[in-house]
Symmetry: D2
Subunit: 336 residues, 4 copies
């Protein structure tokens, strides 16, 4: 079988297509014929040399993938051959509160990931996917969608009628917009492109803000919420955007700290968190139980993930470069 | 001003139209020019002589009403003349957990209600109504809608993707259907009329069951949920339907005990509650905070209450009789 | 090895001591050298012929047991030889909400239990026990203690300062008293024996009621709580005591429906649940996560389970008879 | 009557004792004969010139006070003459989530405070105090105790068996230690004085750390918790201690951001919050409902606040200086 591998991470060209024997599922394990994967910023960071010291070497990259069960090992009870499935991001976080050292069992990080024709996973680390989704659509779920679900639903306890601020058009932000609308919440969205803002509006954002022409977007958020700020900010920028996010959140509101698109460096004054009785919640994907609950909601509401573009397996590097360009709206996938 | 009054409750004809001086708002009070009211089964039960001993006598009936602020008393801060408002069902339950003896301050029960041209209420017992609603629509909210919101959202913590069973086409059930759909939950609905079932489906029920042609509707609910039962039952029937409701709920699920349309008499075996790790939750309307949160969700989602028919003030008795007939689908209103 | 077995359940004499080869742990399994077990009413009900149709036949009875790991099977990661452990009641309920058909994997019910010198369990179905407890003490935890923890803490969200009513001196009630006091709640306790009431008071009950000399114990509970009733009732009696329990609970309070000591037959009028905005919560033991959280609390607070009496393995039948007599205060154990 | 007043805040000497006519309670108001007050760092900050622009001028300072109802205004229903009471910190936050602009109605800040023989407050802004407490003890509750309760119980949902880190021997930290122990949690405490550490241990801390001799106290906390960190940090230091606090908290844990004893200046890197799936929660005192629930728990557990020293009314300035010295252990009070 074919798979991509990173031996020494120093850029997208570190991705090598290799050939190796098909793996066999052991006791309690399943063999998955991967049909599609999707990329996240974490995958880009890893191929560029990020997260060094926390990664398996050599590494089959990419956390997100969906496919069908090709074979089940002894003792497997939750799956049978032919089942349509996806792997869960943190293989050991099944339910309950976050576990320590979750990096150690994250797909495409601490353990091999999904950019491979075949993958063996413990059956505990796998979920059924909604029947109406294509493999590409299902492949978008494990990281970005579960992260948004955890932020808004599990930890955020978002209520219908609440307001949410989402930033840009990456996977987490678009899923957050879709989930918030599915739940009956109001969404304010930002982007640097008027064309993208128009698409965000079509997906259900009640208000949009171009942060290039409106640099003080936090003030605009406050204005749009009668001087109160939003109930929840899905913060994917990191220290570069966080001060404005905290300013844009309501007294008693929540900032979900998720991404570091503006870079991990930089510091913030934490005092406004105190003066607003607000909460800053770190969100590192989520558990299998969250994934299952989310899938149920996706199924009931026939919610379709936004797939921007699907690359063939042979063009995995181009898929990474497309993600790097920032031109995308939603998820970038690779069919296998 | 004109108002209806019940001196001795022994049927719908006990409603008398009387004339009395306009009331004046005292310190912390507001005068409301009532524009519309809506009826609930409780109003019917009261005029028939139910809840005896718990009622003010003589009583201006009806808990639900909406109108505009005609005058504010000294010290009022939350309202000004012209504001569009509704009274809250339990005048003293503002926030937090349920209060004792809530009957004592329920409108149209322990204190005078809204079937009157003018009403004086403490400003604490009043809420602003969504701007896009007519007075008739807003008048449907205080009892039935807040009850459904409390059952599903506040106490029920309903999650997108959960399943809900609603019974019939009364106010609580229709609001529960609408709120559940607004939140992204799946709804199964029952009725004795195929025509009504068709309307329930159009409002978003994924599945409907005619309980006349399908007496074992609980078995059908289980079938429709892959043998599991629903997450939540909005039980408005009382002891007569409760055993089937408990059978239709999932392991770990919730039965919201709300109404007694099949009569208050009758007993049930509570053991299935234990064997299913289930919960039976009594719901007696809700607090002002719930009402405000619900209004916010109604506003964001532009959710329109289903008004079946509006009667003029002079035909209040006909409105009661129409409710009594059971022919309605949604709420029965009286314009004032 | 020796074990007790029930082939045909028709009374305590159905318990036969048998001899059979030592079991071997398979993949993901552990072999436990059982050192102590404790009895619950369910064990008594089963040996008398209860729960017929839901049981494995022949059956090694008893859900509760503690011992040490004697051997680990391939792939086991959570335990090593010599670890002190207990089995969890429902082998398949690890975390999250209650699972369907939990009877099918309950120890000493759907699968073989702990009244045996050696037992093989999946490592997932086993927990570490607090280091300071004896094996007898630890053997009291899996059913009664986890049930009380689930009722009060996980589902009940009991808060310091809340009030709890416990009934009698069985295992669940005593644990509920101890846990409630550990959390800073007030406890009112009932018993038919003044001597036992005195012991309940020493364990921390602020008030006690003899239900034999004070038949209307619900009225006394209301009196002791300034006319309000308690926040939480730990109901172990079933339909025979439930109406008074519901009367004794506060507006908005919770009745945890746990046991059926007064028999499973009988019906109740559910309407007071509605009129009180109260909640009736079925509690069927709990998950492994609850067990682990409870053990942590027991460890921090050095809470000692109340062991009434320990019988030797050869006198298991006498242990059952002692439980049957109702003379106990706390748990009845069997050392192995 | 006599009262202290700040006209221009530039140090403790800005406190002037003035004489003015006794106030009269209006509609819905009560007159309180203040018997004791207690000081918080906020009071010190205000007299030094902090919070400028957010304060009433001239200002009767001090948020915390207890006394008895001397007279009730028209329409008052919750109190009668002679009732023992305390004012709530934020006069307008009665229940539910935090309100905007709570500074505007905070006692001794946006409105006049309690350092006065008589005070008039809206009855809504007053609570009954536990009967067994002295006025000095009750006067310690409104700010520090409610803050700790909100952090640990209301927002923190602290569970028995959880671990909590408290810093130093100020009011909030000591109450947090006492409440955590009352709930059955484990407490690790820091101080720069071995004598104080000994007292913290006597109050129930299982482990203590001298941060002067053990500068890397976060590493020690991790060591004491088997490499995991604590479930909850009560952070009263501000940016100066926050990075170590975040390091000392467990994956999925909570840092309650409460005080700024090390100064409000300074920035932190927020990324560890993300990588730990942790939560940082700003806590600005709490609502009346929290105060009432806390009082109930204090009453049930007969928990006695730690009063370090009581100064007479005439020596209010000395009380401020004593607080400023940092020599205290628990609360500094002024009898009136």
């Amino acid at each position: 079988m074919k798979a991509y591998e990173i031996r020494e991470a120093n850029g997208i060209d570190s991705l090598s297509l290799i050939d190796q024997p098909n793996p066999k599922p052991g006791h309690g394990e399943v063999l998955i014929r991967v049909r599609a994967t999707s990329l996240n910023y974490r995958d880009l960071a890893i191929v560029r040399g990020g997260l060094a010291g926390m990664l398996k070497t050599p590494l089959v990259p990419v956390s997100d993938g969906a496919g069908e069960i090709a074979e089940v090992g002894a003792g497997v009870t939750r799956f049978k051959k032919g089942d349509r499935v996806a792997g869960i991001f943190t293989q050991c976080w099944l339910a309950g509160p976050p576990i320590q050292n979750m990096y150690a069992t994250s797909l495409g990080g601490g353990v091999d990931g999904m950019l491979s024709e075949y993958v063996v996973l413990a059956e505990d680390g796998v979920v059924h996917i909604p029947a109406f989704l294509t493999y590409e659509e299902a492949a978008t779920l494990p990281c970005a969608a579960v992260t948004s679900w955890n932020a808004l639903v599990t930890e955020g306890k978002l209520q219908s009628g609440d307001s949410v601020l989402v930033m840009g058009t990456g996977g987490v932000s678009i899923f957050a917009l879709q989930f918030a609308r599915m739940i009956g919440a109001r969404v304010i969205a930002t982007s640097g492109s008027d064309a993208k803002l128009e698409r965000l509006r079509k997906l259900g954002a009640s208000d949009v803000i171009n942060y290039k022409t409106n640099e003080k977007w936090d003030a605009r958020v406050i204005e749009l919420t009668d001087g109160q700020g939003v109930d929840h900010v899905i913060e994917v920028g990191g220290p570069g955007t966080l001060p404005r996010s905290i300013n844009a959140v309501k007294t008693g509101g929540t900032v979900s700290l998720i991404g570091i698109l503006t870079g991990a460096a930089g510091e913030i004054n934490p005092m406004p968190i105190l003066f607003k009785n607000a909460r800053m919640q770190g969100i590192l994907v989520g558990s299998r139980q969250m994934f299952d609950e989310m899938n149920r909601a996706i199924e009931v509401n026939k919610l379709r993930p936004i797939v921007d573009r699907v690359f063939p397996f042979s063009e995995a590097r181009e898929a990474y470069r497309y993600l790097e360009s920032g031109a995308h709206f939603g998820k970038v996938c690779i069919a296998i």
